[in-house]
Each structure stands twice: as structure tokens, then as C-alpha cells.
């Protein structure tokens, strides 16, 4: 993967992070302000992305949505990463009953297409942002558990793990001090890819009405609101949020690949 592309991806991710933080303050219009008189205006100098059916500025809504989407994704991924990697590494290294039971839970979870699980969870638990985060975290767990477990299984008989034990490292120190740091590059890549996927997931749930509720701006909700107007030619209501969504996910995926190249210890000098 060439360096310019990697750099561009990392810059894009940084930009998204900045927007998530300062978005609400830098937008030219209030994302929630409705003005029916100027509804469904095409993109112009005043409204860069046009307005929606209630006269709200779409640009502002798209930018502010960054905070919600990224917030959900980051929380969900962080949660599943911490729980999943630790559990997976412990299973891979310690084995035994822990491994067997965790394996069964993971198998059961992966017996369902994960989007459907998220749907069912949010439907059951209720339509709040916290529940979306929880549902997304749960369906992400298996990946981390399996990844950490497999990577640890490969490494646990490695010479340097044996050497660490000869050098006085007990089981937990081996897991945290030797194995997880060696797993870190792979895990970082997984996280970045998962962030993209978590955003897609949250947007998908919102699109079908199970996620963030209007009038809160979120890319999936915005796209859903704009879908009916597509047929009548007012494409900007749905397309801009959709593009923002795609762009963000694409940036995270590319950044994940860039990270993988960066963190390979073989490139350190």
C-alpha cells in the first residue's frame, strides 16, 4: 500500500475525529432549525448540501452526525476490544474450562448473521443509543475473541514465550506482558476495520428505524429520511449523508491497512 494513500487515509481519519469534536460549533446553520419556507432547496452557496423537507441545512446535519456515528462506533469497538482481546488471549493461553465455555458462547453468537442479532437485541432492549452501542459491541466480540485466541495459540509455544517463562514470567504476565503487546499491531488493524464496520452497522440499524431516532442527525437516519425524495429527483437529501457514510468507512478501512504496514515491527529501525 503506497505511502501517499496511507497518509491520506490517516489524515482523513484525523479530520473525522476533529469534526466529531468541534462539528456542532463550526457549522454555519443550526442542524435542528426548521424553516419550511426553504424546504428541499438544491445545493447552493447558502446551503452547501441543500436543505431537507423541513428546511434544515443538510451540510450542518451531516457534519454534526459525525459526532454521533463516531461516538457510537468508538464506544462499541473499545468495549468489545477490551473485553474480547483479554478474554480471547486468556482462552488461547490458559485453555481449560474457560476456553470451552467461551468457545460455546462465541459459536452460538456466530450462528446468527450478526446484523440480525443487532436487530433483535435493539428490538428487545429498546431504541436508545446506549443499546445500539451495546448491541454493536456484542456482535463485534466474537471477532476479537477468535482473533486473540488464534494469535495466542500460534505464539504460545514460540521460543520467546518459553524464554519468558524461563525468565520468571507467570501466566498472567505472559498474557499481558508478552503476548498482547505482540498482538497489538494485529489488534490495532482489527480495530480500525471494525470501526468502519461498526459505523455501517449503526447506520444500517438507524436506516430501518431501530437506531438513532429523528430529529437527531445520524448518517443512516438522514439517508432514510432522504430516500423517499430520491424518486422525485431531490437527490441531495439522501446522497450527501450516504456519501459521508461511505467516505468515513472507506477512510477507516484504508487507515486500518496503513496501520498494519506501520506497526509491523519488521519496519522499525
Amino acid at each position: 500500500m503506497n505511502n501517499r494513500l496511507s497518509l491520506a487515509a490517516l489524515v482523513a481519519v484525523g479530520l473525522l475525529a476533529v469534526l466529531a469534536v468541534v462539528g456542532p460549533w463550526i457549522v454555519p446553520h443550526d442542524p435542528l432549525a426548521t424553516r419550511v419556507a426553504s424546504s428541499l432547496q438544491p445545493p447552493s452557496a447558502l446551503h452547501w448540501f441543500g436543505t431537507d423537507q423541513l428546511g434544515r441545512d443538510i451540510f450542518a446535519r451531516v457534519v454534526v452526525a459525525t459526532r454521533i456515528d463516531l461516538g457510537i462506533a468508538v464506544s462499541a469497538v473499545a468495549l468489545s476490544f477490551v473485553v474480547g482481546s483479554t478474554l480471547g488471549a486468556a482462552c488461547g493461553y490458559l485453555g481449560g474450562a474457560l476456553d470451552r465455555w467461551a468457545g460455546r458462547v462465541v459459536d452460538m453468537l456466530m450462528a446468527f448473521p450478526l446484523f440480525v442479532v443487532a436487530m433483535a437485541l435493539v428490538a428487545a432492549l429498546g431504541n436508545t443509543v446506549a443499546n445500539i452501542v451495546l448491541a454493536t459491541a456484542i456482535i463485534n466480540l466474537p471477532f476479537y475473541i477468535r482473533f486473540a485466541r488464534a494469535e495466542v495459540a500460534v505464539r504460545r509455544e514460540a521460543g520467546y514465550v518459553q524464554a519468558a517463562r524461563l525468565g520468571g514470567a507467570g501466566p498472567w504476565r505472559v498474557v499481558f506482558g508478552v503476548l498482547l503487546p505482540n498482538l497489538a499491531p494485529g489488534l490495532a488493524v482489527q480495530m480500525s476495520l471494525n470501526l468502519g464496520w461498526a459505523i455501517l452497522n449503526a447506520a444500517g440499524l438507524s436506516f430501518i428505524g431501530l437506531g438513532v431516532r429523528p430529529p437527531a442527525p445520524e448518517w443512516g437516519v438522514l439517508t432514510a429520511e432522504g430516500a423517499p425524495f430520491l424518486i422525485s429527483g431531490q437527490w441531495w437529501v439522501a446522497v450527501f449523508p450516504g456519501l459521508a457514510l461511505m467516505g468515513a468507512v472507506f477512510a477507516f478501512n484504508l487507515a486500518g491497512d496503513a496501520l498494519r504496514d506501520l506497526l509491523d515491527p519488521r519496519r522499525r529501525t
Binding site: G159, Y160, Q162, L166, P265
Partner: protein, 566 residues
């Protein structure tokens, strides 16, 4: 008319000259050795002869077809196709046979290359066969093309010494049968000297010397040749018999069994990795443990180092019963600093994220109560002793050569100042010259620091150079033990004799050596009665199949487990 004429051959990979101006000939029925250190261009030359790479210059003229036998045979076979079908593929292509005839001919070929039960083996997949068997399959594949020239690329890599000899004999016999020429590629000059009519030495892509083995050993001209010669074992180079100090480790009745899953209703099976071993290691002494791959020596080493738990047995070390502590708790035991191990395979034995200094410091920090500054001092001192210059201390493993990585592993094990060091194949992946250097270093360290060694190796030569006592292991049991010089001069167990006979001789002799046939049986559910070696023993008698011989004293510090020792 020569069989093969190579003139001015040159092969370029990008800006690099892998092979430059290579010229040699081969007559029908002749065996030529192509010898050199890794990277000298031997394999690339072979690939050019095979037509698998396009030369930048020069010509290759061959009367007939070439066939190549690659190293690491298992990886060179299609993993999802049975070996019989792979051979049949070649037969149908080169001999125009139809499916049924090809299948039968494939089974014949497998028998010709010495596979027992060829009909059953033909349906097997490569992962189900041992390394030696896969190598035979490769030879069968080569034969099926009816070649005029057989090229063998490091055919003995990864094989036990006994199997190596049989494979090379097989290739020589088959080549003779067909009147084909052979090119033997190897980095082992001794091996080439034994098997080849002439040897061409390569260095950095060029041929630097061509001569008969006798001429080469008598009077080598090129520097590269002399370097190769220097790396060879020299007869008579054995350490003086140092008086062994008081016992440092006493192990009794060590057994390690692994359960093997079977069908639901059958009795559980066990893999007897270690099947009842007693040993005593004295302070300051060096004991070698030899055996073929799969005999259990690495498992025994891991048990003695307390990385894994024995199924049974007692180990006394420096006044502690260390077998009583589970392996899980061993890292924090008080005796941990005094019992260390240099782990196998230098490449994977270093944490890729730690620099040399960090890797050596880590055990010091956890095992000793030294202050930060003291740790640094000790690290510098031990790295100096293993001759790793200061500019290497900040490097990461992937920036080090194989020899340097091996030294770091040694330094790391020696840093806590142990009394006993277990070395598991410390020179396995190293070239002959590097091997000599590392062994020399280990010997010096032992004398300077008063260490005791337990050296695990399948290579008898390594053991002979470093150890004053030797134990021979077969299928999880010790079959012979005693002082190194005595055992090598007068082995008393047939297996030991077979292992020693399989070693190449220096200076090389072209006489045929007797050696062991077949391969070691599986350690799963070994025969409950009778000597484990009975199946391969050239001197087997009726009693041998009925009762297992115990390991008994045979005078003069020697022990043998044989009913009819030599």
C-alpha cells in the same frame, strides 16, 4: 559426448548476479557435487538447467530430459492430491499411459523407491507421510519422467542422518540403473565428498574450483573451499574427560504421556513421548542426549526445564524437588534462575519487539533482585562474553543474522548465572562454519563460568564436540549411556552403532557403510513387550521380541539396554 554441457551461464535477478559465467560438464553416469554456502548460486544454476528460470547469458546443452528432486519434499507436493495420483499425472504426461495403467505403474514406482505397502501409500496425502517418505515420493516423481539427468537439491535437509543415507543410496542406485547423470547440490562438503565423482565449489555465483574429492581435501586452492573445509568436524576433537562434580540434577522415572483421541468405544491411546528415564547430571559436566526426531528428547528437555509437567517421575535439583511444583508456578520458583534453557530454533526464540539488550535484561529483572544499574552492567558483561559487539545491543531480532540470534539466546539464558543449562538443538538452523563457532563459544563459556550442560541434538557430531558424556534415546527410552570417547569408539547398542555409522567420515571414504534401514515406529501405543528396537535391529533374536531389556551397567561408567550388546 557429454551428457550435460553448461557454458558461460549467467542468471540475473534485477541488479543482482545470482549466477555468473558458470561452465562445467557432466558425463553419463557421473555424479557431480555442486557445493557452496547458502546464497552461492547452486540452486539457481539447477533451476536454469531445468528451464525454470531464463538465463541472461550462456547455454545449457542436455542429451535428454532433466528431473529435479527438491528439498523440503512435503511442501513440494500438492497437499490436496494423493501421492499416487500425482505420480500418475507425471506418468500420463511423460509415458502416455492411460488412467488404469498409470495407477498401477505409480504403485510400482513407489515400491521401487522403497516405500513399504505401496498400494496403501499411493492413496495417502503428503501430510500423512513422514519427511523421508515424501522425499521418496519426490524421487519417484522425478523417475517417472525417465530423466537422463537427476538433480538433487539439498536432498537431506530435515531428514535424520539414518534416513539421509538410505535416500542417497536409493538415488545413486536408480541413477546407475538408468545410466543417468546426477548433480548433487549441498552445503555439506563431507556429504559431497562421499557421494560424488567430482566436486564443483561455488561462491557468490561463480565456480571457483572443480576437483575430485581426494584432490580437494589434499590441496584446496580457492578460499571458499578452504572455508568450507574449516567448518567440517575434525576427527579426534573431543573434550578432555573432566571429573564430574557432585550431582546437580537427579531425575528418576520420568515419563510423559499424551492422550490421543480415538473412536468412541475404544480404549484410550497414549503417545509415550518419554517412557521411563533416569539420569544424573553432575556439576560442571556436559552431557549429550541424542536420538532421531520423534524419540522424545525435546520433550524430556522441556520436562527437565519444568516448562511442562511430567506424567510421572521425580526431579531433584540443587536440593529442591522441582517436579513437585507445577509448570505453571515454575517461573516464580526460587530455583528458576539456577536452571535455564536455550530454546530450540533461534529465529522464533526472540521476542520480535524487544531489542537485544532488552531481551537479555528481562529475565534478570524478574529473577534477580539487582538494581537497574546492576542489570545493565550484567547485560553488557554477558553480551561481551558471547561476542556481540555493542552496536548490536540496540538491534531488533529481524536485524540480526542467524548466528547473532543464537548468541542472544545463549546470553539470555546465561545472564541469571545458572548452574545448569539445557540446550535444545542450539545449532540446528546454522551453517557448518557458524555451527563450529557457536559450539566453540559454548565450550569456552562452560569452562569460564563453571556451567553444567545438557545438550539435546540429533547431530552426533555436535555432541561429540561438546560433551564428555552421551546418552542415546530411542522411542522415549535411554538405550545407551557412557563417556563420549568410549561410546564413539566402541558402541555397544546396535542403534548407537547404526547412528554412528550414518555419520559422514573425514577424510571421506567412498566405501559403502552399513546403516539402519527403515524409520522409527510410532510412539503411540508402543509394543508393550519386547525391545522397542526389535523391528529395525540387524542382530535381533527371539528373546528381543519377548522381553524388553533394562538399562543395565556394563562396566566403566557405561550402561546399555540390550540383551545382546555388541
Amino acid at each position: 559426448m557429454n551428457l550435460l554441457d553448461v557454458a558461460g551461464l549467467a542468471v540475473r535477478f534485477g541488479p543482482v548476479d545470482a549466477v555468473a559465467d558458470v561452465t562445467f560438464t557432466l558425463a553419463r553416469g557421473e555424479t557431480l557435487g555442486l557445493v557452496g554456502a547458502s546464497g552461492s548460486g547452486k540452486s539457481v544454476t539447477a533451476l536454469a538447467i531445468m528451464g525454470l528460470v531464463v538465463p541472461a547469458a550462456g547455454t545449457v546443452t542436455l542429451q535428454g530430459r532433466p528431473a529435479m528432486v527438491f528439498q523440503n519434499a512435503r511442501r513440494a507436493l500438492n497437499p490436496t492430491r494423493s501421492v499416487g495420483r500425482q505420480i500418475a499425472d507425471v506418468l500420463r504426461r511423460h509415458q502416455g499411459l492411460d488412467r488404469g495403467a498409470a495407477r498401477a505403474a505409480a504403485i510400482d514406482l513407489l515400491a521401487r523407491v522403497g516405500l513399504a505397502d505401496p498400494a496403501r501409500r499411493a492413496a495417502a496425502f503428503p501430510f500423512e507421510l513422514s519427511g523421508g517418505m515424501c522425499q521418496r515420493v519426490m524421487i519417484a516423481l522425478a523417475l517417472a519422467t525417465r530423466p537422463a539427468l537427476l538433480i538433487a537439491d539439498e536432498p537431506t535437509t530435515g531428514l535424520d542422518t539414518t534416513v539421509q543415507a538410505t535416500i542417497l543410496d536409493l538415488m545413486a542406485a536408480l541413477a546407475r540403473e538408468r545410466g543417468a547423470g546426477t548433480i548433487l547440490i549441498t552445503h555439506d562438503l563431507a556429504l559431497a565428498a562421499e557421494r560424488c565423482d567430482r566436486i564443483a565449489v561455488m561462491d557468490r555465483g561463480r565456480i571457483v574450483e572443480v576437483a575430485t574429492p581426494a584432490a580437494l581435501f589434499a590441496d584446496a586452492q580457492a578460499t571458499a573451499t578452504r572455508a568450507l573445509l574449516a567448518g567440517l568436524p575434525r576427527a579426534g576433537m573431543m573434550p578432555p574427560r573432566a571429573p564430574a562434580g557432585p550431582p546437580l540434577m537427579v531425575a528418576q522415572g520420568i515419563a510423559k504421556l499424551y492422550p490421543v483421541a480415538r473412536r468412541w468405544f475404544a480404549r484410550p491411546s497414549f503417545l509415550h513421548a518419554v517412557d521411563g528415564v533416569d539420569l544424573t547430571l553432575g556439576q560442571g559436566g556436559a552431557t549429550g542426549l541424542v536420538g532421531e526426531s520423534g524419540c522424545g528428547k525435546s520433550t524430556l528437555a522441556a520436562v527437565l526445564a519444568r516448562l511442562i509437567d511430567p506424567t510421572a517421575g521425580r526431579i531433584d535439583f540443587a536440593g529442591h524437588d522441582i517436579a513437585a511444583v507445577p509448570a505453571r508456578r515454575a517461573p516464580r520458583a526460587p530455583w528458576r534462575p539456577r536452571l535455564q534453557m536455550v530454546v530450540q530454533d533461534a529465529v522464533d526464540s526472540l521476542d520480535p519487539r524487544l531489542t537485544v539488550a532488552q531481551a537479555v535484561a528481562a529475565p534478570l529483572r524478574r529473577l534477580t533482585g539487582l538494581s537497574g544499574r546492576e542489570v545493565q552492567a550484567r547485560v553488557a558483561e554477558i553480551l561481551d562474553r558471547v561476542q556481540l559487539s555493542p552496536e548490536l545491543h540496540g538491534r531488533l531480532p529481524h536485524q540480526l543474522s542467524g548466528g547473532q540470534q543464537a548468541r542472544v539466546g545463549i546470553a539470555r539464558a546465561l545472564a541469571p548465572r545458572p548452574g545448569l543449562v539445557i540446550l535444545d538443538e542450539p545449532t540446528a538452523s546454522l551453517d557448518a562454519a557458524l555451527q563450529a563457532a557457536v559450539l566453540g563459544l559454548l565450550d569456552d563459556l562452560r569452562r569460564d563460568l563453571g556451567l553444567g550442560y545438557l545438550l539435546i541434538s540429533h547431530d552426533l557430531d555436535v555432541v561429540r564436540r561438546l560433551c564428555d558424556r552421551v546418552m542415546v534415546m530411542y522411542l522415549g527410552r535411554i538405550v545407551e549411556a557412557g563417556p563420549t570417547a568410549d561410546i564413539f569408539a566402541r558402541p555397544r547398542h546396535p542403534y548407537t552403532a547404526g547412528l554412528i555409522a550414518a555419520m559422514p567420515q573425514i577424510p571421506p571414504a567412498r566405501r559403502a557403510r552399513p546403516h539402519l534401514a527403515g524409520e522409527a515406529p510410532s510412539p503411540i501405543d508402543p509394543p508393550g513387550h519386547g525391545c522397542a528396537f526389535a523391528g529395525r535391529c540387524p542382530a535381533v533374536q527371539a528373546l528381543c521380541r519377548q522381553a524388553a531389556p533394562p538399562l543395565a551397567g556394563a562396566g566403566d561408567g557405561r550402561q546399555v539396554a540390550c540383551h545382546f550388546p555388541i
